[in-house]
């Protein structure tokens, strides 16, 4: 059985069907990239995985644990949702760092709060781990800076560290470099690449085709709320079979 199993996810906003019937699997340690034109539902898919949206139907299963199933689900309490969404991390396009906290405090905030209700988290180790993550992100000299004192690329790397600090099973990225100018894009892609080398399980929504091709194992091409084509990323991006995929990729050549 796969590590993550997403089955028949549908999501409507009012009368618009945003996700029509999304199914895919992935294994632990894999990197999946999601590509597709604007409005195809990529963000909505990530938001469903992170419980920021509730799918209208379908199921999500991770490591044999059924996280969501529209056919059996009764209303979930906040506590249950919080527990379920911790399987996933999400890095936003616009970073969303907390402006009143320094880089390291942005990372420590959530783990510290969680350690109060979960005795298995060692509160004294949180800060050291956060520091380690900042070093891993190449930010050892930015530990005590506030977000407004950091460049966009640095902010996004803090946001990645913040998500990693909770040890999610799968880390999701929603166009992590789209708000950055090209000079800063490279430094963020570099740390994501390093995470891939360490076998971090990731789902990355991106418009960086060569990055998707090199870093991810599987590419999913979405269009108008459906998965048009999915497969090994090199195959999908270098030699797509379907006309729609070819058209889309033509814009990136």
């Amino acid at each position: 059985m796969s590590f993550l199993e997403v089955k028949n996810i549908k999501k409507n906003f009012g009368n618009t069907e945003v996700l029509k019937d999304i199914s895919f699997d992935m294994d632990k340690g894999q990197v999946v990239s999601v590509i597709g034109s604007s409005g195809s539902g990529k963000t909505t898919l990530l938001r469903c995985l992170n419980f920021l949206e509730t799918p209208d139907s379908g199921s999500i299963r991770i490591k044999d644990e059924l996280l969501f199933d529209s056919s059996v689900n009764t209303a979930l309490s906040e506590k249950e949702i919080r527990k379920k969404r911790l399987h996933f991390g999400l890095v936003f396009q616009s970073f969303n760092l907390f402006p009143q906290y320094t880089a390291i405090d942005n990372i420590c905030l959530a783990p510290s709060l969680l350690s109060k209700e979960d005795p298995s988290i060692d509160a004294s180790a949180i800060r050291d781990r956060a520091y380690e993550l900042l070093i891993q992100m190449g930010l050892s000299n930015r530990v005590d800076n506030y977000p407004h004192e950091l460049s966009g690329g640095q902010q996004q790397r803090v946001a990645i560290a913040r998500a990693l600090a909770l040890n999610p099973d799968i880390l999701c990225f929603d166009e992590p470099t789209s708000a950055l100018n090209p000079e800063l894009t490279g430094e963020v892609l570099k740390v994501i690449r390093e995470l891939a080398d360490k076998k971090t399980t990731m789902i990355i929504v991106t418009h960086e085709m060569s990055f998707a091709r090199d870093v991810s194992d599987i590419a999913i091409f979405m269009d108008k709320g459906v998965i048009v084509e999915q497969g090994p990323s090199k195959e999908i991006i270098d030699s797509p079979r379907l006309e729609r995929t070819k058209q889309f990729l033509a814009y990136y050549r």
């Binding site: 992170n50 419980f51 920021l52 906040e78 919080r82 527990k83 969404r85 911790l86 996933f88 991390g89 999400l90 936003f92 616009s94 969303n96 760092l97 907390f98 402006p99 009143q100 905030l109 959530a110 709060l113 969680l114 506030y146 977000p147 407004h148 913040r162 998500a163 909770l166």
Partner: protein
């Protein structure tokens, strides 16, 4: 003469100050509660709250003072305010608290709604509770946002307290004016101005200090 004027004005100003402090003490928390009401998705709650805010902000405080003081006695034939200075002071306080709570609630609402949803969502995906998100992330950003408009309102309140005299609450201007009749002198009125200037100056410094304290971070 100067000493007796000073004494009378101090006595009046004490009343002004009492009204000022008590108004803030009650209207700030009440304003927060009203702001939550005005942001609720439930229309049955939101619309009446918005209507109430419109009434209070759309009519003069002077009118509200008169209605709140005389209304119960004349309409309900119940003298809920009691007699004497204390009764009038209580009525004035209630009018001020309601009025200022409505103004503050709109400031709070604006402040809370100005925080981008991304801040809430970032907290959510990090497994934080609604309560933690509000207290640990949103609140301080809201406070930073609303300090300037709150400071404006508070300084307006200092001067608005003088309206309480329409229901014969003996505040500082009342005392100053009484010397026109009793002694034929006008300078005590100017003197009351100094009380206001010093007090609002002090508040300006205080708010400036708080703003500076919150300068260490910036909100997008």
């Amino acid at each position: 003469m100067f000493l007796s004027v000073t004494g009378a004005l101090f006595a009046g100003f004490l009343n002004t100050l009492k009204l000022f402090v008590l108004t803030l003490l009650f209207s700030l928390p009440l304003g927060l509660i009203i702001s939550f009401g005005s942001m609720k998705n439930l229309k049955l709650l939101r619309y009446p709250v918005k209507f109430f805010i419109w009434i209070i902000r759309g009519t003069p405080l002077m009118l509200q003072l008169l209605v709140i003081y005389y209304g119960p006695g004349i309409i309900l034939h119940a003298n809920i305010w009691g007699s004497g200075d204390n009764g009038r002071f209580s009525a004035a306080l209630v009018a001020f608290v309601i009025n200022y709570a409505c103004y503050f609630s709109e400031i709070f609402r604006g402040g809370i709604q100005s925080i981008p949803v991304g801040q809430y969502e970032a907290g959510q995906v990090l497994g934080m509770t609604k309560h933690q998100i509000f207290t640990k992330i949103i609140l301080l950003q809201v406070i930073k946002r609303i300090i300037p408009p709150i400071s404006n309102e508070v300084i307006t309140l200092v001067k608005d307290t003088s309206l309480a005299r329409v229901i014969a609450v003996y505040e500082v201007i009342w005392e100053g004016q009484s010397f026109i009749k009793s002694a034929g002198i006008i300078w005590p009125l100017f003197y009351t101005g100094i009380f206001y200037l010093l007090f609002s100056g002090l508040l300006t410094l205080l708010f400036g200090y708080i703003e500076k304290k919150l300068d260490y971070f910036k909100i997008k």
